[in-house]
Amino acid sequence: MTSIGNSDARVRIGLEIHCQLTALRSKLFCTCPADYRGKEPNTNVCPVCLGMPGTLPLLNRRAIEYAMMLALVLNCKIPSRITFYRKNYFYPDLPKNFQITQYNAYEQASVGVDGVVELDDLDGSSKTIRIRRLQLEEDPGRLAYDGSIDRSNYALVDYNRAGVALVEIVSEPDFNAPNEVRLFLNRLASILEHLGICNPALEGAVRCDANVSIGEQARVEIKNINSFKDVERAVTFEITRQRSLAARGIEIRGETRHWDDARRITVQARAKEEEEDYRYFPEPDIPSIVISSKDVEAIKASMPELPHARVERFVNVYSLSRDTAKILVGEKHLADLFEASIKYYDNARSVANWIVTDLKGYLERYDDGGGDGSSSSSNSVILAKVTPKHIAELAMLVDSGKINRATARQILQRVIATGMLPSAIVQSINVDMLSNKDELASIVDKVIEEERKAFMDALSNEKALNYLLGKVMRYSNGRADPKLVLSMLKERVIGTSKTGQ
């Protein structure tokens, strides 16, 4: 097994990843809608997910199917009998005082066991990550606090999320470096998107716990990492913390720590129950489910094209380089954009290059660091504006020699600002970019005049500036220099807030 990047065999990292099956329409054991987001607290509940006495949970078949799909992609074995267990603990977010989950101490009965994932980096090195198990369980409710958690005397509970289907993936501690963790999570995000079972961009849809140990020292659990992006940061912090303790001769305690995403550090957490304290026992209300090899075959047959197969197809059918294909498939929306764009312009390599170098580069510069393994929220706004036709036209204009690559990049910025088609932008810019402040001032004034409300919004919210920028770009037929316009708009905003108008 070769390693990837700056790995250190003494560092051992394991992951526990929770993915909500956001593609489900109902919860795991009751018919409440699975989409709890944005609802008034405690309105998306029923006697079953509230744990009322005498209610009977009934398993959502599709949840089993989705979990089996993911188990198969992670090369897990699927046991012939799947069983649910009760994990007993008292915490206000758990209405029944137990969580229905799976447990493999008595029998191998979780949806998947003993999987393997081959991680390969773009430089050709690779390593194997073993998956211990994959299980289905219910999400608990959500706790909120009046003001800060330290000052509040009580917790406020919202059970809307309680009972939503979660898949938990537990890896063996096979990672030796934080960047391996990132590679794995990116791969997982792409798999989830391709299977269409979980949208990692939704807040709280993917959560991760990590355990970190160095050499013979005790293992530290890190909980509460609420985005894939933060996992690498949390693990890096924890390795540094443990190394500096060890350097000073201080023994590392086996403990649970929380990731504080505001301060970007791990902090000591309350002592939790030990594994035996959960008093697991088989859930008597849910009979075991017998899975035949025919069932497994049917699931396999129903699976959509997976990232690995898609990379192969891009290489074989479109003659893309393997690296380019991997980058595209790494983010499903980019791969989708590629396939849609080549319908308008069949030079696949040229289109792929545009997406992989120029568009992706642009997205990375404008990334707001939003919550997950795939694109951030501002990126999704940008991506919503760039259609396959835009990409196809840009590639075509460059290939035909009508514009050079540098001009094309500027046109891409205008496409994003205005939504205009590149061919229309080219026609409108028979002259250079409009970068004369005096010429632009009249357009800026006109837009501020017309869009008084948006301008006032911009005083408190910088994002409103983009809307004004878009208007200026339209009025100038895409000729205005967006950077200059933005700085002019900012000047006006600052001027207005100073005079208090």
């Binding site: 008292f90 909120a144 009580y154 406020l156």
Partner: protein
């Protein structure tokens, strides 16, 4: 058989405060119950018996069709509420 310390731990897990005399009382009662269960060991059921487990056909599960529960207000039986939230003790 269980001792007082095990019952104390159980009480902690259940978040129930217990006095020393209560712990002694319940330890005694739990041991009586466990002894009673020992009678099951005397029953001759032969060897090689698979533990009885219910199982059902894969096909007999629920379809993924959402139906919102509309028969009542989830908060109507809750004693402590704040707005639409249920108030609960803060856990240390």
């Amino acid at each position: 058989m269980v001792g007082v310390e095990e019952v104390r731990h159980l009480a902690h897990l259940a978040r129930i405060g217990m006095k020393e005399e209560e712990l002694r009382l319940y330890t005694e009662q739990i041991n009586e119950i466990l002894t009673y269960f020992n009678m099951l060991d005397e029953l001759d059921i032969g060897n090689d018996i698979e533990p009885y487990r219910m199982s059902r056909e894969y096909k007999a599960m629920r379809d993924d069709i959402p139906v919102a529960f509309s028969a009542g207000n989830a908060l109507s039986n809750a004693k402590n509420v704040k707005g639409r939230f249920i108030k609960a003790p803060k856990m240390g």
